[in-house]
Symmetry: D2
């Protein structure tokens, strides 16, 4: 209820602050009998972690995950899986006058107003560092979904600042620090270098998708597959917009164009983004999100202090000039957690056996 | 868990199908002692109901609400408020071959796959008719928020199909069937007439906002104010995209532009859309949603039947050529339900007294 | 959260007051495809309804249930099942000075303190009449569990006031108004007649059990099968105590006696009452509850009025001198709802297939 | 949903196994601004910890708690409070053949059937060791309730095996290892010594109560104060029965006796145990629980192995011959968590201000 647990049947309770002793999560509801070790989780954490290129924060955190419970002799037991990540690089001296002021575009102000107290070290609880436990939990969900249904997840950057990124191929994504589907990312390198030199930050657009999603997942009225995806994505730090399938472009589409035809071989298009009436169609889930520019920048900004007096704020320290660069594995993880939740809900109400239409239309 | 309850502290459980005997909802958690009668609810229902212009479905439903419980001598008692709306115009004979086929872009297919059974009369549970109880519940939330905090909600159409609608004034909205902020809507009338003649449908973009929202509402990590707004909006039938504040435009903004400066008199802009770090800033909440074109159209579409054989589908019956036209009061209601939920959550954890910063910055 | 929904995966939301226009519930999460009609539900309602003998309230309510949604062509669709029961006999004129006073042992006082307002007609929301929708919902759960696993539920009275009732046979239970396992209930008739003549009321002890419960249902730490049974039973009006298996007698048992031995043919005894570590053993669930004497009696009692002044209260009207008499079908229904919830939870996490130990020990 | 989170507004998520690296919990929803340090929690943990007398398990665990998050500069921030307790004494070699067999009266069998896998080291997740994090969380709840309302909690043993313990005074409770309200506990010492010599175990009855509970806490229909107490108590390892107020004795009481009279000075008795209609009356909450004898005993018992073959089981290792001895602080903690949850729920729906009846009747 206080917003630190994601999901209900595959429930991930997140804890920690950017500069406390540790962060982590407790996963409750993982099916028993799945092989699981730290190595299954570390890979995705490494994709998200800071310090991997000059374009992201230089904070140096190995983000090594430790499984505290829920696994016995290498297999999940059905009981809670607690994951712990030590905070090892907390240079809180860098944070200057932000203890007494509010950064424009940052949660400083709202936390202070809500609670009457805030932990200002590294943004405390509002830090994007708290996405690390979600990436870890998402890795567990991904593993189960892969083994059970063959479901897979992937994502890429489709725009950085005002620079659109053409889609060349998924195969390029792992080979550059931007998760860009490009063979040559020099234009992105140059863009980021200029931005950093200007002391400014920029936004990004990320695409994330899931393949081999079973048909029939999602609840019809409120906990729709797309509602829960929107909830999950908008909950990622700095996200300001979410689209499913054709998204905002569907406004200008005609019904004769938008509605994906069905054929005996499957759907003829995917404007739906894999969801109709809140329930998965079996096509790829297709999601796009807008990430705003980082609020922690070294250019001075007008603000007020905690007494309400005017002041200027400069954020020193180590910050991502474009938080969107590291957002791809986070968005994948959140999408995996949504699909996992709905896979378990579907089993609860409808059982393991999926109703069969022969031939089952898939994506063309 | 099965997706028919919205909210937890102000929990609205929705039931019914388009052509069953009745639809309705149960509101659990309404604070006691508020004056409430059917008249407080009927107004918003009338704004949403069908048959009010030639541009919406000609189904003739008075949508008269009856309070079954939770009110004694004109005041809420703190116990569940059950609201009932009889279905009075069920012409199920109009639905032709859709019992055996799947409309492209419609939930027919996914319901059948999920449950192995579906109620095809008027779309059954997937009908937008089920938004009526939410509008009713939203009216209760609006009333409490208005009396407690002075919070108000309003919305308007900002685009229909490929036709953008310039914002003239909120005052025009109640005076045309489109909820358009225009003095003269002839261009919209013509647009819709041409569309109907073509046997096609189109999408729409709707803006909805809330004013006088208390600062400090929303939970920081998952149940963020903006996450829950995204969840609520994406759950409205036919919605494919959601934006908060600058939304997708924030991708191309620089940090020096996007982050709203604070001054002793309040925020200098509202790119945040009234939410920072998931918590309300006290500024207006600003939300924009994309609604896809209606899938029920009279133009023949390629599809399959329940045996998987190719066929063509024509949807007869009475359908909205642009479901977005009636979406404004629905989006307002859902936004009100989100704010109400977070108002109660805030009271639970932080008490009635809001932490005070003097002067409290509001919107400029 | 406000306490009017029971269960999460098989969630029953209850609404109404004793003398409002109607009472009812919404069942969310019922598996699709089960045959269901009002006739499947009416039987248990008839077992609970008032006016069936001179020993219970003479309120004359047929308690006819109407299914408003969730069933299409005689089968559940997986969407919410709304059940409505009209209140037809509201003689609120009988309630005398209780509008301004608090009956000792009654919820009058606490409702008034909690909400600052209460509906005094027939006890309003605190009336045992609100168990009727739970009996209806329980009938739906019973039907599914019977068809899926062969699970059955039954209960009987084991003590009334200070009169213990020896167990003769389950077959006698349906043939007397007390749900007593006795061939001859004259002693109970006489006991109740004397009590009514004395203008007093008495308590009762009820036993309820379930057979053919699948092994493995229940969650280990908090949502234990026995925790949830205790929660469900203590929530029935007037219940003051709950026991599982040997219950309070287990305090004086030695470990060598209490722990039920396992044999290849099954457990050798059932002190556990069918639950070990919170999880069902496959043996019969055995539950016993204590019901306090009715607080609404015609003998004058010392009390205060709403201004805090001393007064005396006499409750006129039509009340059960022993609410325990009608409690058996209620307790059965609540037990069925708990088992149903855990059956669905088990499917979510562990799937439809139950881990097999050969031979599976059952009860001997 | 998988049963490892207690509460919703003050939600405690528990993790760990008896012999894993660590156990702990995450508290979500604690109000901000309360002073909190490890020292506030350690006291209750020390009351529960093993090895404090010869009558309890000789496992040697300091049970030192570490706060990982949610506290900044000595005050709660409103964000999750993660508590970690290292397991330091895991002698898993002691557990003999129980890896392949099922102890009568133990969760071995049901865990294996439910999950198809179990962690047998020290009972794994089913160990009473997992109550330690609840005692820690309860200490946080106690502190807040004490500061906010003056609410206090206490408990004592009222029976051990077949030996009733007369109530002398609360003041004796802290001065003996049994939490007995006796000045001289020699009879208990002798009883336990004889039991241990016999290689057997016994049950216990525990009383727990809360004073200065605000009037009006608890929800009327399902999440009644007494329902939630029953749920919480029955969830403690080995509990088989729960009573509120007069409990099972109320069956034989007449209505003229049971119903507590109200006077301008307060209630004249407390048969209700502080709850009417599920809502607190402002009187002391009075709860009694039955704890079964420990299933882990050194006397050989008939059982089966995982193949279903007959065998005998002897439990070696370090076990409590009467788990009831250490149950008092656990029951206090669970009661505190229930009251805390309802205090926050009440604030959500009804606000901070309690409706006032002058004079407010309290307990006499």
């Amino acid at each position: 209820m206080s917003g630190n647990t994601f999901g209900q049947l595959f429930a991930v309770t997140n804890f920690g602050e950017s500069h406390g002793p540790a962060i982590g999560c407790v996963i409750d509801g993982c099916p028993p009998g799945m092989e699981l070790s730290e190595a299954d989780i570390q890979g995705d954490l490494d994709r998200r972690r800071p310090g991997t290129s000059r374009h992201v924060t230089q904070r140096n955190e190995p983000d090594t995950v430790q499984i505290l419970s829920g696994v016995y002799q290498g297999k999940t037991t059905g009981t809670p899986i607690a994951l712990l990540i030590q905070n090892t690089d907390q240079r809180s001296k860098d944070y200057g006058n932000i203890l007494e002021t509010f950064r424009p575009g940052h949660a400083d102000y709202t936390y202070f107003q809500k609670y009457g107290i805030r932990d200002p070290r590294g943004g405390g609880r509002s830090s994007a560092r708290l996405t690390a436990p979600m990436v870890a939990a998402g890795a567990v969900a991904k593993k189960w979904l892969k083994e059970k249904y063959g479901t897979t997840f992937r994502g890429c950057m489709t725009q950085v600042g005002d620079l659109p990124i053409a889609f060349e191929s998924w195969e390029h994504v792992p080979h550059n620090p931007f998760f860009a589907p490009l063979a040559d990312v020099q234009v992105l390198e140059d863009y980021m270098d200029a931005l950093r030199k200007a002391g400014d930050s920029c936004g990004a657009r990320i695409r994330v998708s899931a393949s081999n999603v079973p048909v029939g997942l999602g609840e019809p009225l409120f906990d729709k597959m797309d509602s829960d995806i929107a909830y999950a994505m908008m909950g990622i730090n700095a996200v300001k917009g979410v689209e499913i399938g054709a998204g905002f472009a569907s406004v200008a589409q005609r019904g004769t164009v938008h509605g994906d035809s069905l054929t005996p071989q499957g759907f003829a298009s995917n404007n739906a983004g894999g969801v109709l009436g809140g329930i998965s169609t079996g096509q790829d889930l297709e999601v796009s999100i807008a990430i705003k520019p980082t609020s922690s920048i070294i250019t001075p900004r007008d603000s007020i202090d905690v007494q309400g007096n005017p002041t200027q704020v400069i954020t020193k320290g180590r910050h991502d000039p474009c938080v969107g660069i590291r957002a791809t594995p986070i968005a994948e993880a959140m999408l995996a957690l949504v699909v996992m939740e709905h896979a378990l809900r579907h089993r609860a109400q409808c059982g393991d056996v999926v109703p069969v239409l022969t031939p089952i239309p898939g994506s063309i």
